[in-house]
């Protein structure tokens, strides 16, 4: 029996609007009005005074959650291994970054923490300190019951040493407080518009992944047991309610057959003209809910 999705929105969707034409109260309103039950944030962006918000800010945070009937889902964090040009972080410093963010996530009620590690290659192999740093904070994650979940994110496909290394870590430690976060951008199968100053030559080489790395959604079933959270990445839904880049029917079908019953947390990453994101997220929620209903009622293979 397929699980039922939970629907959320990441405030990342409102990048550029946030801080200029939108504050956190507005953000909560826009998230709640999609019918979502969960809100995702970026610690460094959305928490005033990060990493140590005032008690007034924290009170306001919980007041907004209650007012809008939302639960905190995932908090995004970073382990900036190349924090300085002069040297990389040590394992101790990396663990301290994770501990800082686990403490904040716990304070604010989050159940998931997504660290983004600095990388050392073009296909996003993380700095090797990731493993010992995470291992040092697993007890803290267990105490807080927070699952640490790095992303599988374009240009890294599912079948890749990065994914294997995370799975090996889970199997080796036996932890239930480390899992995979899937960013649906990996399933993108149609090109994004060119960035400013991008040429066809650049798109064919350095930025080829912007055409979509076209991971087959069926591959989700191979790793589903390790996946704890999904960011529903998208870029543009047109006026005919068609997503121009992500093949949602195939994605939703695979997720349902895998029995995924966690969050789909919208991450809009398209044009950043003021206020465009708000309605784009609403459109995405229509598509996702319709597809789930289609699957449950036997109309989606």
């Amino acid at each position: 029996m397929a699980g039922q999705f939970k629907y959320g929105v990441s405030l990342y969707s409102f990048t550029d609007d946030f801080g200029s034409v939108m504050n956190i109260e507005d953000g909560f309103d826009h998230v709640a009005d999609t019918g979502a039950t969960g809100i995702e944030i970026l610690g460094e962006t959305h928490v005033a005074g990060y990493p140590k918000p005032t008690t007034q800010w924290v009170d306001n945070w919980f007041g907004l959650l209650e007012k809008h009937k939302l639960e905190p889902t995932n908090m995004c964090s970073w382990v900036d291994t190349r924090l300085r040009l002069s040297r990389s972080l040590t394992v101790e410093e990396g663990a301290a970054e994770l501990e800082r963010d686990l403490n904040l996530a716990h304070l604010l009620g989050f159940k998931f923490l997504r660290p983004k590690f600095g990388v050392v290659t073009h296909d996003l192999v993380p700095d090797p300190i990731w493993e010992p740093a995470v291992e040092r904070v697993l007890d803290l994650a267990h105490k807080y019951d927070i699952v640490i979940c790095p992303e599988i994110h374009s240009p890294t496909p599912i079948k890749h040493p990065v994914t294997d290394a995370y799975i090996d870590f889970i199997e080796r430690t036996g932890t239930r407080h480390f899992g995979l976060l899937i960013d649906t951008g990996i399933f993108q199968d149609r090109p994004l518009p060119f960035w400013p100053q991008e040429t066809p030559e650049i798109r064919a080489t350095d930025l080829a992944f912007l055409d979509g790395i076209k991971v087959n959604p069926e591959e989700f079933l191979d790793i589903a047991k390790y996946v704890v959270f999904i960011q529903a990445k998208f870029h543009k839904i047109n006026d005919k309610l068609e997503d121009e880049n992500i093949p949602w029917p195939k994605v939703i079908s695979a997720l349902k057959r895998a029995g995924y019953a966690g969050y789909l947390s919208s991450e809009y990453e398209g044009r950043r003209d003021p206020w465009v994101a708000i309605d784009q997220v609403r459109r995405q929620h229509v598509i996702l809910r319709q597809l789930e209903k289609d699957f449950d009622e036997g109309r989606l293979a």
């Binding site: 200029s20 460094e44 005033a48 290659t121």
Partner: protein
């Protein structure tokens, strides 16, 4: 709050003693979707009316501190938050004349989770902006 676009309308002004201006400032919003420790920020090139001032010579003013490039690169304990602007301080004897100028900036941002060949990445913007006071 800051203006939605990258280069802000206010904050574009001359600096230094009146009558003996040493340069000018351009105010910008955070060139990032996340709050940033200043050591990840690698300076800003500024071009005004076709004349380019390199990131290596410009300073950054955030709240009550001014950072040259070397100081910026080690400022791992200073955070720039999304609701705040910062100013690029550009040395130019005499400053700029009052009136409308074409301003272009290129901010250099290090995102350690980007592949090495995209270090740094660039945030660019251009617009017409106005110097009010000489």
């Amino acid at each position: 709050m800051v203006e939605h676009k990258f280069i802000q309308s206010s904050g574009f002004r001359n600096v230094g003693p009146e009558g003996a201006r040493e340069g000018f400032e351009v105010r910008i919003r955070l060139p990032n979707y996340r709050g940033m420790r200043m050591s990840l920020f690698d300076g800003v090139d500024v071009t005004v009316d076709g004349e380019t001032f390199s990131y290596e010579q410009n300073a950054i003013r955030l709240r009550d501190q001014v950072f040259d490039l070397a100081a910026l690169r080690e400022a791992a304990d200073v955070r720039w938050e999304p609701f705040e602007w910062a100013s690029v301080v550009v040395p130019k004897r005499g400053g700029l004349t009052p009136g409308i100028h074409h301003v272009a900036v290129c901010a250099r941002v290090r995102s350690p989770y980007f592949p090495p060949k995209f270090q740094p990445s660039f945030v660019r913007d251009e617009r017409l902006a106005t110097i009010v006071l000489p």
